[in-house]
């Protein structure tokens, strides 16, 4: 039998089978009360499963837009929290921290997404979908609500290039607990969620499970962003602790970020340079 006529025969057989079964079922539904309820319950279950499945498929394909909406929402909420904190801290009342849209205290927040990120090198990088047209400047921080992700190095019109936290030359000023000691936190060199906090004096008290936050001692990252949890420690050169930290953010699974730009950086950096130049001059005079 040719393939085409065989296919037609199969379809015809299936159609007649379904038709006859439906006829039998409709007779049963009309004939017996119990059977009527049974068929109706079964059909409701099938319809429920079908609608549920199609809803799940639709949900899956709309995940991207939902993620974008959530990222925007997260950004708005982060901004609101920062503004509120600033307003509470400031003596001038609740309006003191508000500077303008996207601003909170000394920092301006710009939501963005990672378009490319290397993960398998010692010097990993990030490319973000925001550039100078969006207000991004070099030396801006890249954060999420659960960690410091990188620092912007170069900015183009619509994209920015940054060095990632998973980079052996990257470190962020961090402290243990809300009032703890400050030291540089850097990537451990191989994991996507492990870091080492160095230069912690031996007299410092800490415990496993303590949270590590950004210190705020820089013009790049705002203070109090939770970075990770202390999981262990060792003594470095007999003089300092090095503390092992499990990061809250898994750097292998990042998508949405926030770029933070310190509005007063243009004033602070010349002061830092002046201080550095002053020290150099004193040293020269002493010689």
């Amino acid at each position: 039998m040719p393939r085409k006529s065989r296919t037609i025969s199969i379809i015809l057989t299936a159609a007649i089978f379904i038709l006859l079964e439906v006829a039998a079922l409709s007779m049963i539904v009309r004939g017996g009360d119990l059977q009527g309820i049974w068929v109706s319950r079964f059909s409701h279950r099938v319809m429920g499963a079908l609608w549920g499945s199609s809803e799940s498929v639709r949900d899956y394909f709309s995940l991207k837009s939902q993620n974008q909406e959530l990222a925007q929402e997260n950004y708005r909420l982060s901004l609101q929290v920062a503004r509120m904190q600033n307003a509470i801290e400031s003596a001038g009342g609740p309006e003191a921290g508000l500077v303008g849209d996207g601003f909170a205290g000394d920092f301006r927040f710009i939501p963005g997404a990672i378009v490319k990120m290397s993960k398998n090198k010692q010097h990993n990088y990030i490319i973000i979908n925001k550039g100078y047209e969006d207000g991004v400047r070099p030396q801006s921080g890249i954060i999420t609500s659960r960690g410091a992700i990188g620092i912007v190095e170069a900015v183009e019109r619509n994209y920015s290039y940054g060095i990632a936290f998973m980079n052996s030359s990257f470190n962020v000023s961090a402290r243990i607990g809300s009032e703890g000691v400050v030291g540089p936190l850097s990537w451990d060199g191989h994991s996507t969620n492990k870091a080492i906090l160095r230069e912690i004096p031996l007299q410092t008290r800490f415990a496993q499970g303590d949270t590590v936050f950004t210190s705020g001692y820089s013009t790049i990252f705002p203070p109090d962003i939770p970075l990770g949890i202390v999981t262990g420690s060792g003594i470095q050169d007999g003089t300092m602790y090095e503390i092992y930290v499990t990061l809250l953010e898994d750097h292998a699974a990042l998508r949405y970020i926030t770029i933070v730009d310190h509005t007063g950086r243009d004033e602070i950096i010349p002061l830092e340079n002046m201080e550095a130049n002053g020290e150099a001059k004193e040293e020269t005079d002493e010689k």
Partner: protein
């Protein structure tokens, strides 16, 4: 066997099934049905669609004249008509279709023929018992009903098959 004679005997057995349904109510656990074997014995030259239509008509007739719920036998019997050709191929092989020869116990032996009947009988009983219970009876009841009805139905079906194909044997 000539088609007209076959279908005359076929109709008699359908009426016998009506009598079984109406008067042989020994226990709830026993469902005796010879309808599956009647569908299986429809001559091989008839297509699947014809087998399904004959099965639907036979089921409807038994339901209409019998005491049960209208459509119950029809619902359970149509799938037997659907799988008949597949079962023939599975149990007896392609040669049945090549020679368009009817299957008999004498030619293929009791084991092959019993397999042929058991599969169809099981399919019929599963659908029949499930639809008859309508989800109100516990699983063990349905399982016990199936376990008792399957061997009883198969034995009766083997007897029917032997008498229906007698003509072929006598030739």
């Amino acid at each position: 066997m000539k088609s007209s004679r076959f279908f005359a005997i076929y109709l008699c057995y359908v009426l016998l099934q009506v009598l079984l349904c109406n008067y042989l109510n020994l226990t709830y656990y026993l469902t005796l049905s010879i309808l599956p074997v009647l569908v299986l014995l429809i001559p091989v030259r008839y297509s699947t669609i014809t087998a399904m239509l004959i099965a639907a008509a036979s089921g409807f007739l038994v339901d209409f004249l019998g005491d049960g719920v209208l459509g119950l036998n029809m619902l359970a019997l149509i799938p037997v008509g659907l799988v008949r050709n597949g079962l023939l191929n599975l149990v007896f092989g392609q040669e049945v279709f090549a020679h368009k020869e009817d299957v008999t116990i004498q030619k293929y032996g009791i084991i092959k023929f019993s397999t042929y009947i058991i599969i169809a009988q099981a399919l019929f009983l599963i659908i029949y018992i499930a639809a008859d219970g309508a989800g109100t009876r516990p699983f063990w009841f349905n399982a016990l009903r199936f376990a008792i009805s399957l061997p009883a139905g198969t034995l009766l079906s083997l007897f029917i098959a032997d008498t229906l194909t007698k003509d072929y044997r006598d030739r």
